[in-house]
């Protein structure tokens, strides 16, 4: 962190990065106070895409809120479906058949890979490289077709239901998925050669945008941002849910805490998700995909329930306060990017604009999830 000349005669000017700016991936505005190109103070301004999902939750029945969860973070919509469905199942005490749990895990991991691929393309685009975006989207397109074949939608899936999934996966999804996994295994080395080992990119990412574990703890950062600073916290391993204990996969953690560490965490996570999918396909049991007796009008008993899920950007938590009627009394959606972004103001002190964009890209923000 270089020392800024802090004398009051310092001539700084305010630059508005956003809300309409190529590097903010959505309508996020960052008010930068600059001294030349060095950031004296950065203040993200939110609320440009605030839709008040939590109020919608309060006047919709449990089933009717399902499409909203996909609109929170449309890049890993299935994880958000999963979080909401698990929370309501925990509240209402609904069991889920084994096959449905496996299908959920496989599709959520697929969604994580598609989210990381889009992040990879967009991040290198922010750093100036145009081509890797197209390669990443090429892989992602195959994946979206696979998920569209099963769920019917490409981005905002509404695939999970309380007690199972909407419809079963068919054989050409399984064969297509096996083909995709094999192909992805050959594409990952190509990304590492083209992007990770590239000296220009390494100079852009290494030792840029340090985030200390203490900063993560103070701001509640989770997901790849925390794992990039040496914190071994992954909800799939920390609070095991669904059938994740059945799978053998490891959690990539890089202690350095710079943008390159967060980059490598996500690249390794793609590899781990492929492993999970393979194990999931091998152990996929047969049987029903929907629990038998799921009440049409769901009325979970009175009380306060919480369920956390590992989305692509971190721990997505749903706090459900139910008063016994068929609409939730209070529905709090704890989104990971909200906390991840809150540490940007402190982490971007003294950086250059180009490095601040490298830092912001490494946080992998999705703005509608922050504003809710």
């Amino acid at each position: 962190m270089n020392v800024l000349a802090q004398d009051p005669a310092l001539e700084t000017f305010v630059l508005n990065m956003g809300p309409q700016h190529p590097a903010t991936h959505g309508v996020l505005r960052v008010k930068l106070v600059l001294d030349g190109e060095y950031i004296v103070e950065a203040e993200p301004v939110l609320g440009y895409i605030h839709r008040m999902h939590e109020k919608m939750g309060e006047n919709r029945t449990f089933a009717q809120f399902m499409p909203n969860t996909g609109r929170l973070d449309y890049l890993s919509a299935l994880s958000y479906n999963h979080g909401y469905v698990c929370a309501v199942e925990r509240a209402a005490g609904i069991g889920v058949p084994e096959r449905a749990e496996y299908i959920r895990c496989i599709t959520v991991e697929l969604n994580r890979i598609s989210s990381h691929l889009l992040w990879l393309g967009a991040y290198v685009l922010d750093l100036g490289g145009f081509t890797p975006l197209l390669y990443a989207f090429d892989d992602r397109e195959i994946l979206l077709d696979l998920l569209e074949g099963v769920t019917g939608a490409r981005l905002t899936y509404c695939y999970f239901r309380f007690g199972g999934v909407y419809n079963d996966i068919d054989d050409d999804f399984v064969t297509g998925l096996k083909g995709f996994v094999k192909r992805m295994r050959t594409r990952l080395p190509m990304y590492h050669n083209l992007v990770t080992k590239n000296i220009i990119l390494r100079k852009r990412l290494e030792d840029i945008g340090f985030i200390t574990p203490e900063l993560c703890r103070k701001y509640g950062a989770t997901g790849p941002v925390a794992r990039g600073s040496g914190i071994d916290y992954d909800v799939r391993r920390h609070e095991p849910y669904s059938v994740y204990p059945e799978f053998k996969f490891d959690i990539p953690v890089y202690p350095k805490g710079d943008s390159m560490a967060r980059y490598l965490v996500r690249m390794d996570e793609i590899e781990q998700s492929l492993r999970i999918i393979e194990q999931g396909l091998d152990k996929l049991p047969s049987g029903p995909v929907m629990a038998e007796k799921v009440p049409k009008i769901l009325k979970p008993p009175k009380g306060d329930y919480y369920h956390a899920v590992e989305a692509a950007r971190g721990a997505f938590g749903v706090r459900l306060v139910s008063d016994g009627t068929n609409t939730p009394y209070r529905l709090k959606l704890r989104s990971p990017s909200f906390s991840n972004l809150s540490l940007f103001a402190e982490a971007a002190q003294g950086l250059l604009i180009a490095d601040a964009i490298a830092l912001m890209g490494s946080l992998d923000l999705v703005i509608p999830e922050i504003d809710r």
């Binding site: 939590e54 309060e58 703890r217 701001y219 950062a221 919480y306 938590g317 209070r330 906390s339 809150s342």
Partner: protein, 187 residues
């Protein structure tokens, strides 16, 4: 285990009442209810124990007082009827003590969620605040992450976090004076 360590540490905060919660059914391990004045002290204890802030939010318990009174009257009537049915047994026995103390006025509940990176222990801290003057001291000095959470709770519920550096609307437009998540909010 982290939960026990936290219990000893929390003993210092006088008004903190800790209770275990069934994780499988509820999703959190410990529930702490604290008086508004000691929120900062409790947060400091949690900070020393290495917890990270997950979320801060509010719940508007409008109409809870009316419901509690109705329940208490119904319970008293039932007790009296039962007493009459069982042949005038001592009707003078007080209403069943199990009914919670009826709150003087409807309340907001501010819910703080903490979690721990290494140990599996999610703590939910609840603070009850009177609806007419909802004042809770801020914990943004201890947990800077709570700064935005508190601004958002202020946006939605109008709960004032005293000592907060900048309580301007975070998600709502700058000139918003309405609080959408209050139960008596009319669009």
């Amino acid at each position: 285990m982290k939960a026990n360590a936290l219990k000893q540490a929390m003993a210092k905060v006088s008004s903190a009442k800790i209770s275990e919660a069934p994780y499988a059914a509820k999703g959190f391990h410990l529930e702490i209810s604290v008086a508004p004045a000691e929120v900062a002290a409790a947060a400091a204890v949690l900070d020393r124990e290495g917890f990270f802030i997950e979320a801060v939010t509010g719940v508007d318990w409008l109409g809870e007082q009316a419901a509690a009174e109705k329940a208490a009257k119904a319970a008293a009537a039932a007790a009296a009827k039962k007493a009459a049915a069982s042949g005038e047994a001592a009707p003078a026995e007080p209403a069943p003590a199990v009914a919670p103390a009826i709150p003087a006025e409807d309340q907001f509940e501010v819910v703080y969620d903490f979690n721990h990176y290494e140990a599996l222990c999610r703590v939910t801290m609840r603070v009850r605040v009177v609806r007419s003057t909802p004042e809770v001291p801020t914990i943004s000095e201890i947990y800077p992450g709570a700064n935005w959470h508190e601004r958002e709770t202020h946006d939605f519920f109008g709960i004032v976090f005293t000592g907060h550096p900048d309580l301007s609307p975070l998600l709502l437009p700058e000139d918003a004076d309405f609080h959408p998540l209050r139960k008596d909010f009319q669009a």
